[in-house]
Amino acid sequence: MSLHPFAIELLQFFLLLGLAPAFAGWVKMLKCRVQGRTAPGVLQPYRDIRRLFGKDIVLAENASWLFRFTPYLVFGVTVIAAGIIPLISVDLPLSATADVIALVMLFGIVRFFTALAGMDIGTAFGGMGSSREMTIASLAEPAMLMAIFTVSLASNSTSLTQMVSVMAHAEYVIRPSLAFALAAFIMIALAETGRIPVDNPATHLELTMIHEAMILEYSGRHLALIEWAGMMKLTLFFALGIAAFCPWGISTGGDIISLALAFGTLAVKLMVGALVMVLIETGLAKMRIFRLPEYLGSAFLLATLGMIAFFILE
């Protein structure tokens, strides 16, 4: 029995919506275990979101429509991005509407509005967070595009589904270009999702927070939506990395059994990927903010080297 492509698309939306908190919880649990602390359990993010939805919103007097609008936009755009990245199947109707450049732009929209909302209230922290976020983004985005373009070169397409189906069936060869691109992608994914060594997702210390500083004024369901979108973004970056660099096991049609298998492999890959990220996060200290341009510059260099290596060596 096989599913209609639109049914797969819907399934993918619900999969991401439902599983992103569990994934975030898994990351948090692993991190606690590795650092020798007591872990809160995988389901804690669900409880957090439910608690936040139950709370009242506290709005600043001078908050404009922008501030109230941003959480819904952030949430909506992140969900749309989930329709573009192949999680379990490459047979996605929505994917034809947007390629990988549009995907990066979607994340750009999210960041743009979050930064505006951070400045909207007029507190010092919001402005500081926005300014830092945009500094990082302006350096991370080109590097991210370069890393993805290296995969595009190898698969002759910028459409994600096309890339995935080519890469999933490519014969096994050693590709230095992809190794470089993967290294660059990991560095950028850490920056884009606000993890150590770039940002610390757990801190509310004034001088070090970046993403948290922007959303400091949010409360209630607004905060719930933003947090949920943040978890989805984290999951999506992992999914994007998996789709671009190790898509083996993904389903090409709508066959239910192959979809289930694809879901199983995705879950395993996500768990392993989370472990890698937790080890990186535990092994490194947060970088000084003035060293970040160098860090992101190296990521850009690696991505560019990957692209050059593709032309020279392959």
């Binding site: 060869v173 230095p176 190794a179 341009p293 190296s298 020279i312 060596l313």
Partner: protein, 221 residues
């Protein structure tokens, strides 16, 4: 089958050599530079051995062992003990800031790719595509010599250039004749002793290994 696999492994090693050349440009600490240089020599030795295996030119094994002994063990050891003796662990000042140097480096890689493109068309060796990497390593070594002020870093740039030349020889013609390679190895060893002596002299005369200090030697006004 083994041929294509060897070519792939060689490509991977070439990519790592290129990466280490960039790492040399990015590294600020002298001991870090020595480590990266040793790694570059290791990749070079490995690549030479792989080419020797795939092409059947067995004298390449000897060059590979020579590289391993000289560039991975002996030269880094000499530099390491020099750095320890002269107490120069501090960060090094670069003339141009590091991200700019990196961008220049990328341009050099593209340039050498274009320069070697005709040779790539003519050659039918399995190593033809790595020639661009070899030339790029030479140029990056040169860039390092130009953009760094410290005498030890300049020597490391010079040695990285030599690595590039050696790699160019193996990838363009499966290595130079044995006599030439032995001669080059001996020269390098002598060079190591000479620059060791020079470091001591520069250090005692100027109290620093910053080559900017040598501008004092100019007889102006």
């Amino acid at each position: 089958m083994t041929h294509t696999l060897a070519a792939q492994i060689n490509n991977l090693l070439a990519a790592l050599i290129l990466l280490s050349a960039f790492a040399l440009l990015a590294q600020r600490k002298i001991l870090g530079l020595v480590h990266i240089f040793a790694w570059q020599g290791f990749f070079l030795a490995l690549s030479t051995a792989v080419i020797g295996f795939a092409s059947g030119e067995h004298h390449l094994y000897i060059s590979s062992l020579l590289t391993l002994g000289m560039k991975v063990i002996l030269l880094p050891y000499i530099l390491y003990s020099l750095v320890r003796k002269l107490k120069i662990h501090r960060d090094i000042e670069a003339v141009v800031n590091i991200p700019t140097t990196m961008l220049l480096g990328i341009m050099l890689v593209v340039f050498s790719y274009h320069l070697t493109a005709p040779i790539r068309e003519l050659s039918n060796l399995m190593t033809r595509s790595t020639l661009a990497v070899a030339l790029a390593t030479v140029m990056l070594g040169m860039l390092m010599m130009v953009t760094r002020r410290h005498a030890v870093t300049q020597i490391l740039g010079f040695l990285a250039m030599e690595n590039g030349l050696f790699f160019a020889a193996t990838s363009a013609t499966y290595g130079m004749p044995m006599v030439v390679e032995l001669g080059v190895a001996l020269d390098l060893l002598i060079a190591a002793f000479i620059f060791g002596i020079f470091f001591f002299h520069i250090n005692t005369t100027f109290d620093s290994l910053d080559v900017e200090q040598m501008a004092k030697l100019k007889e102006t006004d």
